[in-house]
């Protein structure tokens, strides 16, 4: 009886430890990201993506609906192409939806914001969002401001 108790206690301990490790792996790490894991792909072409990185959030009205899967430069048009995985639940995104790159807070990370349009037809796997607004690049902004100032002075 005592031996069985020992085995039971050690068994429970090992199960607890492995369970904790599993929770760490699934919930406390990138393995468990569910939004956008299995979903459909949308593409968006931007002039400039700023600091956007893969795995950044894709939001609609501030709610995460997917994540950025991949970013590359189109070798012909030199646009940045952002591949997004959108959750299956959000499969009725209008065709004339526009995409913008915003920053969450002053120091926050950048994310893609989708602004839904009003069309009756919906975006499907592999479609491209063409109405986009590039990320604000602070240096460019300052540069334009300085140029404007200089031009105004003349």
């Amino acid at each position: 009886m005592k031996q069985r108790n020992l085995e039971l206690a050690v068994g429970i301990f090992v199960a607890l430890g492995l369970g904790a490790l599993l929770i760490l792996a699934l919930q406390v790490s990138d393995l468990g990201t569910t939004v956008g894991r299995d979903g459909y792909r949308l593409l968006a072409r931007f002039d400039n993506i700023g600091q956007l990185k893969p795995r950044a959030a894709v939001k609609m009205s501030g709610v995460a609906v997917g994540q950025v899967a991949n970013i590359y430069v189109d070798p012909e048009t030199f646009d940045a192409v952002v591949v997004m995985r959108i959750d299956r639940r959000f499969d009725r995104i209008p065709l004339d939806t526009s995409a913008q790159i915003f920053t969450s807070g002053m120091l926050g990370e950048q994310y893609v914001a989708l602004d839904p349009g009003g069309e009756e037809t919906f975006l499907a796997e592999g479609d491209t969002i063409t109405i986009t607004q590039p990320a604000l690049v602070l240096e460019q902004l300052i540069g334009q401001f300085m140029m404007g100032k200089a031009a105004g002075d003349e």
Binding site: A25, Q27, L31
Partner: protein, 258 residues
């Protein structure tokens, strides 16, 4: 003058001698691991004594460490309006550093000292000598299962510590201070990487497990077989193991997170 020099030299030579003895003990013990695998019950008993019995102290400490991290992290982050990142602060500090280190330190105090005292008393009461008389190698019969049991127990304890700690931080941050539940977990999921953070933390705690149990069994086996000697060895186990954990932690961190 000459006396002091002589003492200094003696203690220096003594330190190297015990380092050599501990290396030999480690080597001989591992050579006997095959024999241990034929008697898994011995290891089971040690996992019980060092792991299961440390469970309470590990989970309670994990909870409080997580709660403190939640509180401190919140107070700092709220100044930047970045309290949503609280989960990342809690999870990364636990998984990378505090989980492996604190659980190994607690293990050294809770289980390492017990290992030393147990083996030391076996030596003082000549049980080890009696085993040798019966042609049973005490390194294989007594030391090896304890070493293996400790090495198994420490990473599991560290994982429990981490998980409980993240929930402790969640309890303070989300439950008491009003951080958004979704962003607590979402930021953790997007920032903490399985390979870089969780796996490296696990490797750390494995290394600590080997170091702590090795020091504990060596100090026990190498003790001066008197009551005073055992008490000194037990103290040395806790001191040396703690120093070893902290020094190894620096080394491993430098290697892993560049």
């Amino acid at each position: 003058m000459i006396e002091t020099l002589r003492d200094l030299g003696r203690s220096g030579i003594g330190a190297f001698e015990s380092l050599g003895r501990s290396a030999l003990l480690f080597f001989y013990t591992w050579r006997g691991m095959g024999e241990v695998l034929t008697r898994p019950r011995l290891v089971l008993q040690q996992v019980y004594a060092t792991g299961v019995l440390s469970l309470v102290i590990i989970s309670v400490s994990g909870l409080f460490v997580g709660m403190v991290l939640g509180l401190q992290g919140y107070n700092t982050l709220v100044g930047f309006g970045a309290e949503e990142q609280l989960g990342v602060v809690v999870a990364l500090s636990l998984v990378r550093e505090l989980g492996p280190v604190v659980s190994a330190l607690l293990f050294a105090g809770r289980a390492g000292s017990a290992l030393t005292a147990e083996i030391g008393l076996m030596k003082a009461t000549e049980q080890l000598a009696a085993m040798e008389m019966m042609a049973v190698d005490p390194l294989h019969r007594v030391v090896a299962p304890r070493l293996l049991g400790g090495i198994i127990a420490v990473p599991l304890l560290a994982s429990i510590f981490n998980t409980v700690g993240v929930w402790g931080g969640w309890f303070v941050g989300v439950g008491l201070l009003g951080v958004d539940d979704g962003s607590y977990w979402a930021h953790i999921e997007t920032t903490v990487s399985l390979r870089h953070d969780v796996a490296n933390g696990l490797i750390k705690s494995m290394v600590f497990g080997v170091a702590v149990t090795w020091i504990a069994v060596f100090e026990g086996y190498d003790t001066v077989p008197t009551s005073e000697g055992i008490s000194r060895s037990t103290t040395r186990t806790v001191v040396h193991a703690s120093l070893a954990i902290l020094a190894l932690d620096f080394l491993l961190t430098a290697l892993m997170f560049d």
